[in-house]
């Protein structure tokens, strides 16, 4: 009955590079959340990457011993074109944060900045893992009996069946090693429940997953099956994944607004609200999207987590939790192991 707080596996210290300048509420909320997280995780490390004076100004005092400020002079703005920005802003906080992972000074990057730029910076600076044609952006979504992983929600357009096949492997590893799901049930999110029903990509991926046989592949799930937790990993093209994820946000918000209106609209409603306060709290907790923390970008040489542009300190703390858990699980190494020896498919990678 939890949105899926990331389970921490392993105990080694983790070094998280935080893009302190990215996000609607940067640097204040990013820095505040990161410092709070660092204080409650004294054996881990946080690198705050950005303009030092601005970070110092919002930190408002001495920073903990396990926090270091790493200078970066530029900022990728939300309305920048990613390709353009990364070319002209080589000293931007997001690029320098990636550089920390590349140099081995950090294990994980967390950013609330421009998500397109974050993904592009990861591919540009860290590169794809050997054997991985395309990275995929994943998200945890809620059901009554636990979270499931949905991917791709936006790293690529027009993914092939081979791409979906690789996403399935990466999503399964993430569910197993970060969420702690034993033998995750992997499904293709499609238009019908019959195995293989769907577009060309789904048909091709079905064949590949059936032939490969190393995953716990359960065939297709439909849109209505997602909340029933009929899969631990739901794989789809980014158009489907992105619309589903955002529709979830919109629809859940819409329904809560309707209830709120009814609770506020009359004396009966107000009285019922008082009676239902603990219930409302439970339902709100289940749908607390800040707890989702951040979306892992799977398939690049390093762990990168992208969180909401609107993230405030609390969500940043959850994002750091997710980042630390992903870092401790060594997901990129596990993906590299899984894809070792698989030749890259020409023409199917990101250009």
């Amino acid at each position: 009955m939890d949105l899926g707080t990331v389970r921490t596996l392993g105990n080694g210290p983790v070094r998280v590079a935080v893009d302190a300048m990215g996000g609607d509420h940067a640097p204040l909320e990013i820095v505040t959340g990161s410092l709070s997280w660092a204080r409650s995780h004294p054996t881990d490390y946080v690198l705050l990457v950005g303009v030092p004076e601005r970070i110092q100004a919002v930190a408002g005092g001495p920073i903990p011993a396990n926090v270091e400020i790493v200078p970066a002079s530029q900022i990728v703005e939300m309305d920048d074109s990613p390709a353009q920005a990364l070319k002209s802003k080589k000293d931007s906080s997001i690029m320098v944060a990636m550089e920390m992972v590349k140099q081995g000074r950090a294990d994980v990057v967390v950013t609330a900045g421009h998500s397109g730029a974050g993904m592009a910076a990861a591919v540009l600076k860290l590169g794809r893992l050997p054997g991985v044609d395309r990275p995929a952006l994943a998200v945890q979504m809620v059901t009554e009996t636990g979270p499931f992983v949905l991917l791709d929600i936006g790293a690529n357009m027009d993914s092939s069946g081979h791409n979906l096949y690789q996403f399935a492997h990466m999503g399964s590893l993430y569910a197993e090693r970060v969420l702690g799901v034993a033998n995750p049930r992997v499904a293709l999110l499609s238009i019908g429940e019959e195995r293989g029903k769907g577009d060309q990509a789904v048909q091709q991926a079905t064949k590949m997953l059936d032939d490969n046989g190393t995953l716990n592949f359960v065939g297709n799930v439909e849109g209505r099956d997602l909340v029933k937790h009929m899969a631990d990993v739901a794989v789809c093209d980014a158009m489907v994944g992105n619309v589903t994820m955002k529709f979830f946000e919109g629809l859940a918000g819409f329904i809560f607004k309707l209830w709120e209106k009814e609770f506020r609209g009359s004396l009966r409603g107000k009285l019922a609200y008082l009676l239902m306060r603990p219930s409302i709290g439970r339902i709100r907790t289940l749908f607390d999207y800040e707890k989702m923390g951040a979306s892992p970008l799977l398939g690049v040489k390093g762990m990168v987590l992208i969180t909401h542009g609107s993230a405030k300190r609390r969500m940043i703390e959850f994002a750091l939790d997710a980042g630390a858990a992903s870092g401790r699980a060594h997901i990129p190494d596990l993906i590299a192991d899984a894809f070792r020896g698989q030749p890259r498919h020409p023409g199917q990678g990101v250009s």
Copy 2:
């Protein structure tokens, strides 16, 4: 604040051919709903297509004067393969119902049977309208300020930009003439709000809709915009549309279940439930999926509406409402007018 009861335009009598044998609760619920609808619409006509003895048996008495039983000896079952079934069951209720429209004896077909078979029978028996490359299945979905039309939700796989462009025109006509929306805002459902952002099909459709200029094309909407009623017509590939529509069903049901559990789980909850009864009624009414009635298949030579396999009498009545309104609006003629002179694009139609 209504799920979108179909607005009736025009007053001429409509003849609806109902597939009496299709659906999980056929023929009982289909026949009962149809007879009830016929009694409350004495100037319209209902053709009940199916096995006469079975229809008579569930009708349980004399049928109204505006109802006729049209014999069909076979039934397409839910687990039949559509292509196979239509070949071997030429005298099935769905094929005979389509034949009624083809012969001009009916204006509309309503079926709760196998939706794949229904769509295939429509294409096979009635054919596509001239200029239409692919038909599209549409559905009405709910927002606080009125319904919007989502399409395609399952008529085709791997639709091209040109297909989406045609869906946009058909959806706009339906929203305008059946839902009564003046100058409907047409959008492409995609991964980002920037105009043209999306996969190849969305990019191509954007260009075509911009160039054409006859629709009120507003660019892209994202998943979270749907419930905000930011478009009257949301156009997408069937994978996206089908997953969205079914996820809506699943998620709304999931949230209601959570509330129900809280209302039932304690004395406080039970008391709150009594206080909230009128509110709960209002919210339930808004999400009453039976009122959606049926999904129009747009682009074939005749009006065909496909309703839930699980439809019972009440939903069948709403489906007949939707069918009658669509029939009175002469949607196929309007689509034919809109596409007149547009050459069919080779290789982009249904095969």
